[in-house]
Amino acid sequence: MTTDFAVDAQGLRKKFGAIEALRGLDLRIRPGEIYGLLGPNGSGKTTFIRCVAGLLRPEAGTLTVLGGAPRAAVSAGRVGYMTQAPALYGELSVYENLRFFAALQSVPHRDDRIEEALRTVDLLDRRHSVVNTLSGGMRTRVSLAATLLHRPSLLLLDEPTVGVDPLLRQEFWSHFRKLASSGITMLVSSHVMDEASRCDRLGLIRGGVVLAEGSASELVSRAGTRDLESAFLALAEAR
């Protein structure tokens, strides 16, 4: 199973009872790009990301992650997954949380990597704070730091900037850009249109299928609208 794409999904289908979350989703992400998965709540963004993270098995279609099966990429420590909610151990300190996740990923030089990750999310001075005492935005930053520790080749960020203030959101995106420039491929889901323009390419997703793909400017010009939000609505109606 070889492919030139970091993520290559063809005809993915996934059902939860009577609800079909993915209905033949086709999507390809090139190595080193920031791919934005843009769509409303319930459009299938998280389901797709969970498939890529090896947490859900599609019922139909093919999915290749970093040239192999999703689970193989995850087991090899090549994938970093930041969940929508900052899934951390509230009773442990920031450092203890990061130390734990670093151990799971067999990260070498753990203390150096933890310091590096904390510096990236600007939380070095809170390393000994208990996570339960942190604000929501700080917890999101710790969650991102935990995802970066093992320097994955593919980062899956499920709505990473939800609950993050505009200033910090700006910083997050500058981190994401730096990570992408170092060769890391990123799949970022969002339902905030203004964030989408920061991605190299976008996939507009609705009802479990990709409506359109391209850069923000390509999508706007294809839809003949003035902004991305209008383009999304126009493309959704056209389907």
């Binding site: 969970r50 689970r71 087991s75 899934a87 990923q105």
Partner: protein, 357 residues
């Protein structure tokens, strides 16, 4: 106070449970289960007739007395030599050993003694059987009676008998509850999803839980032992290491069962409701309150499936009778507990599905 607001709160609670069928089911099923157990255990418990070995090589009374004694309804009499009788007593095959020293007209009774409540009953039954036998032969004056105990003694109390099983019970109860709620928290807070998206294997996760909770279980055992021995002055004979080994294998089952239960519960409320389902049968049937051999026949196979039955038996054997780790009974109980733990651990691994939704 606004009754409308109170009504709104009450209605919210009722509506909240409306869709929680599991909680509603347990709310009614748990008391029925407990009441059924109480009814079955105390309604059908049998007063066990003690097995008494008469040491023929040390019984110098008239043969008719021996026959009358062995045929008495109050006991199940057997004949054996003194040495064989001692062995049977030590191995739990008999409850008492009896012989009569004619020159001194003394009836010697050695009771197994590990259960202080049973000891009194056994001594009484033997004396009754003996004096009834004498009375039937026209002899009214009975011999002097000397009662000794193989284990325990007059300074042993009910607490000495209960302490070993309480150690097992506390370890099982707290570790089961803590592991169930902790793992449920992994599921509900999303950390399990995160863990499953790392190279961590499900077996590694379960083993990590086992190791972590075993550490606390052993600490707990040390605290309980120190408290019972030094504060409550409980008598204790066996090796500390053997107690910890029994405790360790019991905890493997408790943690794994906790993980299994957490897979069946959707929230902490539901997890807590599994406590009576999992623990109460063990309280009633594992020998904690009533010896297993006095349970109604149909409940004994159930008792044989409960881990606390074996932990109680092993810990009592070690702490009261001073059995060593190499004793077949202790080894058998440890083996059964280990097998239970491994089956539960395999179930726990299978219950952790990598799929999160």
């Amino acid at each position: 106070m606004d009754p409308h607001r109170v009504r709104a709160v009450a209605k919210r609670i009722v509506l909240g449970f409306r869709r929680d069928h599991r909680s509603l089911g347990l709310l009614f099923a748990a008391p029925i289960l407990v009441l059924s157990l109480v009814g079955a255990v105390w309604g059908g418990a049998t007063e066990r007739v003690p097995i008494v070995v008469l040491a023929t090589d040390r019984f110098s009374g008239p043969p008719a007395v021996i026959d009358r004694f062995l045929a008495a309804d109050a006991i199940q009499g057997r004949r054996a030599t003194f040495d064989e009788g001692t062995r049977q007593l030590r191995d739990g095959e008999a409850d008492a050993l009896v012989w009569l020293d004619s020159p001194s007209a003394t009836l010697h009774i050695v009771i197994e003694g590990s259960d202080p409540l049973a000891s009194g009953t056994i001594g009484g039954a033997i004396q009754r059987a003996f004096t009834n036998g004498l009375a039937a032969l026209g002899q009214l004056s009975g011999p002097k009676v000397v009662i000794e105990q193989l284990y325990g003694g007059s300074d042993y109390s009910l607490l000495d008998y209960l302490a070993p099983v309480l150690i097992a019970f506390f370890a099982f109860f707290f570790i089961f509850l803590l592991s169930a709620v902790s793992f449920l928290r992994e599921r509900t807070t999303g950390t399990l999803e995160r863990l499953m998206a790392t190279p961590l294997r499900r077996g590694e996760l379960v083993l990590g839980y086992l190791a972590g909770f075993s550490f606390f279980a052993l600490l707990q055992a040390i605290v309980i032992l120190l408290f019972t021995v030094f504060v409550l002055q409980v008598h204790y004979r066996g090796s500390l290491a053997t107690i910890f080994i029994v405790e360790g294998v019991l905890v493997v089952g408790a943690v794994s069962l906790g993980l299994l239960v957490s897979a069946a519960a959707r929230n902490e409320l539901q997890a807590v409701q599994f406590v009576p389902i999992v623990l109460l049968p063990q309280v009633f049937l594992s020998g904690l309150l009533i010896p297993v051999d006095q349970l109604p026949d149909y409940l004994r196979p159930v008792a044989a499936m409960l881990p606390l039955t074996y932990a109680n038996e092993a810990l009592r054997a070690v702490m009261i009778r001073g059995y060593e780790l190499a004793d077949p009974l202790v080894l058998r109980d440890i083996g059964i507990l280990l097998a239970f733990g491994l089956v539960m651990a395999a179930g726990a691994v299978a219950s952790i599905r990598r799929e999160v939704a």
